[in-house]
Symmetry: C2
Subunit: 574 residues, 2 copies
């Protein structure tokens, strides 16, 4: 690109979009936006039902609708799954359902918080998506009993989301990547919205802290939208979180700086009205941005919406146990009544807690959720969060050009990376909407710049160089590149991650974690094949006269070779 373009100063954001007063960003709930009474009631009942099931999954191995008083025998021998995050995960699920049912929104839900599987599984059961893929989990008493009693026991679901969870495109366990995965998933999926919930624990990780910049790589004309939801419940296992000690002004300033419009949901007495209005606001803002771009008048630095959900930890759980606060404190993080198998007092507290949801009013004796609850579930199966094709259908294989045309005679001094660049250029041409390159070091430094003959960078904030349909994301964050690559791949497309050998090791645990997902995906009967993650290691140990000792670390190949051959291949070339 010509020098004068590069040197042209970048226009500032439209001043009307960035007023001086940071307080103005806090969009407030207006009573005129309250839900109609029946919708409000229905969404609250859905939440109650899901919260109940989630709590029951942690504790009960029998008596799953509280047909009798709970006894110690009804309690599982080992209590797993984390309660604290569940009510928040359910809130977002319930409200996404309401909007999908009402508007036909195409949405995926990516869940960051760890050990929150009970929340998601209970919603999947309520919408009857479990039985679609796993027929034994019927939406009746028998299915509910299996779901609850087998959870976190051999043969049942684990306590974190994995490939066995319908609708999931992200492995639980190692925190920090939900947001970058979400950005990858919406790329080249113009109608898709990914609601991504990030816990305030996960938000402390570096990978998440830089993934917020992901909006700067989303072209609203060709890609869908991520609506990030930072769930600030304030506590980790035994301590406040960083975001838990930040006040609204600080949070608004921070995310305004990243480029977002921020809306904080914290009106507890009107929580469901607040969530509903906030989500509708966010979707309306997304539509504005997309419509502008798609009608040929893209907004400079569009200010995408984000939500901050401030709710007490473990809302609706036990209030006080052994005289100490639980709901709204770190004690709600894991299992709030850890001794209920043996302690009469905790067993009593559990009875009071679970009874408070009044399961007999939520479900028939046959275990079927009542009509109000079902009125929140999307009518069309393919629209349900648990049944989206993007999350499990087979990938679109790449059209690969004839490589022999690029062959060079043995003994010539042609750069192998330059030649690979020419090949990739053809791949881009032949796969204009299903192939992307995610690159932390810049293509030019890796000599793959032939690609720029036919495409550009997708860096939307660089007005001088952004390209319509640019296939190349260059961000100096290996974690963001890897997360985007994962999200793009697991939704049926193909990506490439070229990097210096030494710096691929930065994401080796992410790569291993992803491989666990694909291993379990292969073991399900219903997940169809997806593409591989593709890496090119450059500047390897055979090429060290240039960068030297500080740039040496061949460990990434070692990590790949530790995987089973079905899941990994290493091809060496000189």
């Amino acid at each position: 690109m010509p020098a004068q373009q590069i040197l042209q100063p970048n226009p500032p954001a439209d001043p009307s979009l960035l007023p001086d007063s940071i307080l103005e960003y806090g969009v407030q709930l207006n009573t005129k936006d309250y839900l109609p009474e029946d919708e409000l009631k229905a969404v609250q009942l859905f939440r109650k039902a899901a919260d109940y099931i989630a709590a029951a999954m942690i504790f009960l191995n029998d008596n799953v609708l509280l047909e009798n008083d709970i006894t110690h025998d009804h309690i599982k021998p080992r209590l797993l799954g984390h309660w604290g995050t569940c009510p928040g995960l359910v809130m977002i699920y319930a409200h996404l359902n309401r909007i999908i049912r009402k508007t036909g929104l195409d949405a995926l839900y990516v869940v960051g918080p760890g050990h929150g599987a009970p929340a998601i599984l209970s919603c999947l059961w309520l919408e009857d998506s479990l039985s679609t893929f796993l027929p034994e989990y019927t939406r009746d008493y028998a299915g509910l009993k299996k779901l609850i009693s087998r959870f976190s026991a051999p043969g049942g679901f684990p306590s974190h989301i994995n490939a066995e969870t319908p609708g999931a495109i992200h492995e639980g366990g190692e925190l920090g990547y939900a947001l970058s995965v979400s950005f990858g998933a919406v790329m080249d999926n113009p109608d898709l919205v990914v609601a991504c919930i990030v816990g305030d624990g996960e938000a402390e990780t570096g990978p998440t802290a830089t993934a917020w910049h992901g909006i700067k790589y989303i072209d609203p004309a060709e890609s869908g939208a991520v609506i990030p939801i930072l769930h600030v419940n304030g506590f980790k296992i035994s301590e406040r979180t960083i975001f838990g000690v930040m006040d609204d002004k600080e949070i608004i300033a921070l995310f305004t700086g990243y480029g977002y419009q921020v809306r904080i949901i914290s009106d507890l007495p009107n929580l469901d009205n607040d969530i509903a209005a906030s989500m509708e606001w966010a979707l309306a803002e997304v539509k504005k941005i997309q419509q502008a771009a798609r009608s040929g008048n893209p907004i400079v630095k569009p200010r995408w919406p984000m939500l901050v959900l401030r709710t007490p930890k473990g809302l609706s759980g036990p209030k006080i146990v052994h005289g100490e606060y639980v709901e709204g404190s770190f004690r709600a993080h894991q299992v709030p009544l850890p001794l209920s198998k043996t302690s009469a007092e905790e067993l009593h507290d559990l009875q009071v807690w679970l009874s408070s949801y009044k399961p007999q009013e939520l479900f028939s004796k046959e275990g079927v959720p009542n009509d109000a609850i079902l009125s929140v579930v999307p009518e069309v199966n393919a629209k349900k969060l648990g049944q989206r094709k993007e999350s499990y259908a087979a990938y679109v294989p790449l059209i690969t050009p004839e490589w022999k045309d690029l062959g060079v005679a043995k003994g010539t001094q042609e750069s192998c990376m330059k030649t690979v660049g020419k090949f990739l250029k053809e791949v881009v041409v032949q796969n204009p909407k299903t192939f992307r390159i995610f690159s932390p070091d810049e293509l030019v430094s890796n000599k793959l710049d032939a690609v720029f003959d036919v495409t550009g960078r997708d860096f939307q904030w660089d007005i001088a160089s952004r390209a319509q349909g640019g296939r190349v994301v260059e961000i100096l964050s290996e974690h963001t590149c890897q997360g985007m690559l994962q999200g793009y791949t697991l939704t049926g497309r193909t990506g490439l991650f070229p990097s210096y050998e030494a710096f691929l090791g930065i994401v080796h645990t992410m790569m291993v974690q992803y491989s666990k997902f694909t291993k379990m995906a292969v073991e399900t009967t219903w997940r169809q094949p997806c593409g591989s993650l593709n890496y090119i290691e450059t500047s390897t140990w055979t090429r060290q006269e240039h960068n030297g000792f500080s740039h040496q670390n061949p460990s990434f190949i070692g990590a790949v070779l530790n995987l089973k051959p079905r899941f990994a291949r290493v091809i060496m070339s000189t």
Copy 2:
């Protein structure tokens, strides 16, 4: 801690410290803060001299003071080192020197940007710190010639900062950790100020993006201060940076959200006045915060200062080459005249460029810098950035308690982690100012909470739980924990990093990178022993009934075992 304390709402920041208008944060340069003419002149000459030497190091193997016109023979066969970042690194070095000389400030300089060693080495030579440790690099013609001609050649310095660089406590190469290392270095060093320069490339990494939160773990009563300087020169190798496309308002909003007071340095015609006034402002703000805390009236959420240095990339380098802009563009990033060994045009441009510094006015024929330049250098050797004891003196070994007192009988069911916790409690008691624990998962989850009997968390923003002298940093960022541990260790103290086995792998490349530093440190004659990095791996593969498949990855031990036994030990226990 009692529940009522935990639930107590966290007080918001003092409103007078956080006005509504984000624009107010932009502290402006005032002409009354201009430097006296002679100081201004001296600091500018120091910069000229250092820029000249840095540029010469990249290109010349002879004729190092331009005694003759440059010929192709004077050019190195391979041109290494990155010019683009050098002028900015020199600016900060020069102005730190001015302040140290004037006020006796105790400072270290931690340098994030990669391949910028020429800038730092030239300043070290100017202040005559090189010859203190490496006698051949005398501050005369012979020493200068060695410095310039040997750079990035066998036997000379590499292009990134490493353990052979006096004053350095951070290995170059893998980007992202300068800031967290700096926070670790100031802990329990109440009089120390670390100026940490972060490039706008490095600022895109996740580890840096969350390390900005580090101020929340600095107790101004017991620890020193980090002054972060984000150097926004706008470009990477071939593309703008994220911070390069953000306008001042966005940058101010972002860092205000992190909790900083932000001052942007961008008055190019008065650049040295602006840097000088901004640094003095920052140091005055640091002093206010420290004095309040040390007089027993700590400020709630003190708003530490940070600087943003916006300058054209490669300032003072070639303006236009082959008709294309270089200074202020990505073309200044690496070597701006890469063909000067063979191209007559580029050789001519190099002659014009290097002559523009007028080396004959900066140095005597004997290679001695002129008096004005030397007037910027600190008079006391121990105050020079290259000769600070913290960066190379021997560590203070831990006083270790008698472990046998904590022995339990073989066959008992005592938790080994609980027992380790009791031991660590004693370590804390006996080493109140030289031992810290950096923990991403929380001590309670790793059963080390006996430590809390005698100390607390150092989370300054959590008013309810922060403890004077708290020895425990809990932040859900393995990268930040590792960086702080490195900075704390390399400045002579000892730390511990307990973590789930699977998540230690997140920092395995950092650990390897650090080991390169210590390997080279041992090979110098002047770096004295420092403590080891100490990890406890918990929740290992033998303990998987709890967290399961998603929490398995034993690769960190493998990475440690790949190191030479002199640098690593693994001790197994059950």
